[in-house]
Amino acid sequence: MFSDDEGDEDMLDAANQQGLAKAFTDDSEGEEVLEAEGEADEFGVDSDGEFEQGEEEDVEINVDSTVTNVLPSGQEVEAPSNVPPDIHISRTRIQEILNVLDDFSKYGEAGRSRSDYVAQLIADIANYYGYTEFLAGKLFELFSPREAIDFFEANEVPRPVTIRTNTLKTRRRNLAQALVNRGVNLKPIGNWTKVGLQIFDSQVPIGATPEYLAGHYIIQAASSFLPVIALAPQEKERVLDMAAAPGGKTTYISALMKNTGCVFANDANKARTKSLIANIHRLGCTNTVVCNYDAKEFPRVIGGFDRVLLDAPCSGTGVIAKDPSVKTSRNEKDFIDLPFLQKQLILAAIDSIDANSKTGGYIVYSTCSVTVDENEAVVDYALRKRPDVKLVETGLEFGVPGYTSFRGREFNHKLSLTRRYYPHTYNVDGFFVAKFKKMKAKEQKVNGTSTV
């Protein structure tokens, strides 16, 4: 956006623009005549910004003045409190602040700190995308500024509709053929799964075809394949799914085990067990037991499992595209209460495992949230509280490694083995997967002496 003669004008402009900006702010009424939209609350700098945005392609005379004057002055911040904020101005300013943050030492306004810009950027994001400022800030701090905008943009577009073939009843090729005959346009999701199909468009409702009713597939987000792939259940094992409804993951576990062994599907919400039972029966998973406990009651109900999947209840910040109510409904208290619950659940999950299991001894913890409080912090807590578990490779081909440190908090260095998924990088829901192995008492002792 910068013309090549900017270097020459740098000095001149630096001197001029301060005065210019002042003139605009003081003489706001004169400026409004010029401005097409004529917003009463918008003063010099902002309207100047808008003006720039419109003509930046050809006229770039006072480019630098926009860059350095991106932030509103004190009185402007006060002004718009009684009128609804204008999203177009927020949008423009988001772009401008991004440009400034790209090279702060060069474009930053003298006397303004980087955090001033970031604060304004978060306020604009909250305004433009409709988040509470608290949540916008929480999500913003996970990414670099540009990536954060990609993330917020990706939350505005729906993820593709995906289905999972039920290998207990059919094969993916046969299913794809049957659906194509019904006028469904589809293709395999990717190389990482042999059972997923992505639906582009369909002439029939995809949730009511005879194949659907016969249990040949289930509509399931691509991201929720991941924890089950990581869990890698084996035939004849005993597996617990602690928060199972509506059963997408449970039925996948059952299918991978080829209906052998035993799968315990638990959900704390009785109303939701209906859809869980419906899916289990429709897909013909006969090795399941469905129960309605608070998951914290495990392992008192029954323990000694070979594998446990804990897809914990979470704030849903990874699935904002699916459920936009998250944008405004989540507050600071949620990010204290939910991690508290998740920490209790993860300990219950670990305690439900049989460390001496011949084939298993694995726990997979996953959430559809992207915040560190609900993910790395919980995993780190579990590692500290239960020295007999360790993190292992998830076995997933893609994904960003989890944070080992975040804003001054240091986590176990093994947290790089966990995997994060974002809507803007993989076009799946925001997701987090960690896989633990519970060690046998003997191994544990050896491990203990070697580290001390």
């Binding site: 016969a214 039972i277 419906a278 006969t286 037991v289």
Partner: protein, 181 residues
């Protein structure tokens, strides 16, 4: 959760026998993986003994489902098959009716099987006997009871009813609120 009483077993087996006849023995005798019938609340489940043993740890109030739900006992003591039992009914079916693709949706919306929709059917089905309904590509779609014997059905006009619907997989959507607990 408890085993069925003698009377209950008899009622249920009589019902099952309508559809799978003597093949009931195949349900009971499975030397590789012994299965059993268990009553939980008013529902009957068909489940591997292995899984059943684990399920005994779960309390009566909290146990929502196990294995495969065959159906339920009504308050009057009759036994009603649920669509969830279709998997085993289809496997051991005695009499079968296949319906053409143009009749699939009509059947899945809960209508009876019309002559015009029948693609093929087993020979020598007597009148008023249990049948399993399949799509032409052998996907089980439901079960019902014949209105006419195979011979009589041949002479039926296209809008005549060949079989009355008793259960179809469309119930997974239509009856989701009542079918499961």
């Amino acid at each position: 959760m408890r085993p069925l009483t003698e009377d209950e077993t008899k009622t249920m087996f009589e019902k099952l026998a309508n559809y799978i006849g003597r093949n009931i023995t195949h349900l009971i005798n499975r030397p590789d993986d012994p299965h059993c019938f268990r009553l939980q609340k008013d529902r009957v489940y068909y489940v591997s003994e292995n899984v059943m043993r684990y399920a005994t740890s779960v309390g009566r109030v909290e146990l929502m489902s196990l294995g495969l739900c065959i159906g339920k006992f009504t308050k009057t003591g009759k036994f009603r098959l649920h669509i969830t039992s279709l998997e085993i009914l289809a496997q051991y079916a005695r009499y079968k009716i296949w319906i053409k693709p143009n009749g699939e949706m009509s059947y899945l919306y809960g209508n009876n099987v019309l002559k015009a929709h029948v693609g093929k059917m087993s020979d020598d089905i007597p009148e008023h006997s249990g049948v399993i309904v399949f799509a032409m590509n052998d996907i089980p779609m439901g079960f019902g009871v014949t209105a006419k014997s195979t011979a009589d059905a041949r002479r039926l006009d296209p809008t005549g009813i060949v079989a009355f619907r008793q259960g179809d997989i469309g119930e997974y959507l239509r009856e989701e609120d009542t079918l499961f607990t």
